[in-house]
Symmetry: C2
Subunit: 206 residues, 2 copies
């Protein structure tokens, strides 16, 4: 399989991190965002939204980072990472939704402003980042991993949340008040096979 | 099981619609948003984000509308609505992410401004609504249902997208240019068990 990605895209990093954690052999092709490679006709045929990452596995073309995490987990039979009982699958989905919602339009958007010059209301997206970080920090008070399913093993929900929270300081979202979040970041970073999310000079975590 | 909801919340409608389409017996309790019932200590114990809907089923408390759709589909064994092969599950997840992302921060946000007086940049969220509607309209050119898995049956991705697209005109997002989207809305509205998303006077579709 081949992952189309960009090293400064947190959505890409989610997919790449999970492939490495599961030690799945794959190719990686960097899409030249500066040359608008993600808006080329060829790339738009892979993803009409014109966004990285995209995973191509034979006849299957998977768009959206959450969907790629689901695809990889299911194909690998990695039920620890994506449990299949109704309540456990729902507990994971809850945080995939947060990753696609408040995280994408919170800390990820704040970082898009500083790293890529995107136009967002900076105060609004930074406030949204702190609102969601407050909840996540509370949730992590009582357990090691974000999905509330018994605490034994990380899930794809942790992977979906990791990249843009780790990169939040690049968007001027200060993490120093979130002790449980910082400990959780360190737990993910200690997993065998972990690969870091490339940071720009703007965002080295204090 | 009991669904905590509000009739003007599209996130609530997703869950309520799916329960009715599957003809699943349940109780419904309206949360008094005007009296800030969703921010009461009791409700925050069910959902730290203080948002409807929440589904309570015995010991299980499910937050997030996408997660509720996953829970219901899996509990009912409704694999037509949520297929379980890696590629099919990913194809559904892709649009659950869109529902939690561009839809929530696009047409849903535009409607929050007009219906609830929420503060968003109106031009930004309306532009985001049209961007995602354009892609969805393109995708629906070649098939009846949004997840690209062979076109036979709607999935929970259609349910997740329906409510805020149906309600988009309430947020001054004009749907008249999206012929495929309008035909898809009508297909969903023709499903046995369909229950409408309550519209305010602001938003009766032309």
């Amino acid at each position: 399989m081949k992952l189309y990605h960009h090293p400064l895209s947190g959505h890409s990093h989610r997919a790449r991190l999970f492939l490495h954690l599961l030690n799945i052999e794959h190719d990686e092709e960097e899409v030249d965002l500066a040359a608008r490679g993600h808006k080329s006709p060829e790339f738009l045929r892979l993803n009409r939204f014109g966004q990285v990452p995209v995973l191509v596995d034979g006849e299957h073309v998977i768009q959206d980072s959450n969907a790629i995490l689901v695809y990889i987990a299911k194909k690998a039979g990695a039920t620890q990472w994506l449990p299949e009982t109704p309540a456990e699958a729902a507990a994971v989905q809850r945080w995939l939704s947060v990753a696609a919602g408040q995280i994408a339009f919170g800390p990820a958007a704040a970082r898009l402003v500083t790293v890529f010059g995107s136009k967002f209301d900076v105060d609004e997206v930074i406030a949204r980042a702190h609102a969601v970080l407050n909840v996540i920090d509370d949730e992590l008070q009582s357990r090691d991993w974000i999905a509330d399913i018994g605490n034994a093993h990380p899930t794809i929900a942790d992977i979906a949340l990791y990249s843009y929270i780790a990169g939040a300081p690049e968007g001027n979202v200060d993490l120093s008040g979130y002790r449980n979040v910082l400990a959780w970041l360190a737990r993910i970073e200690a997993l065998p096979g972990f690969v870091p999310f490339q940071q720009t000079a703007a965002g080295l975590r204090a």
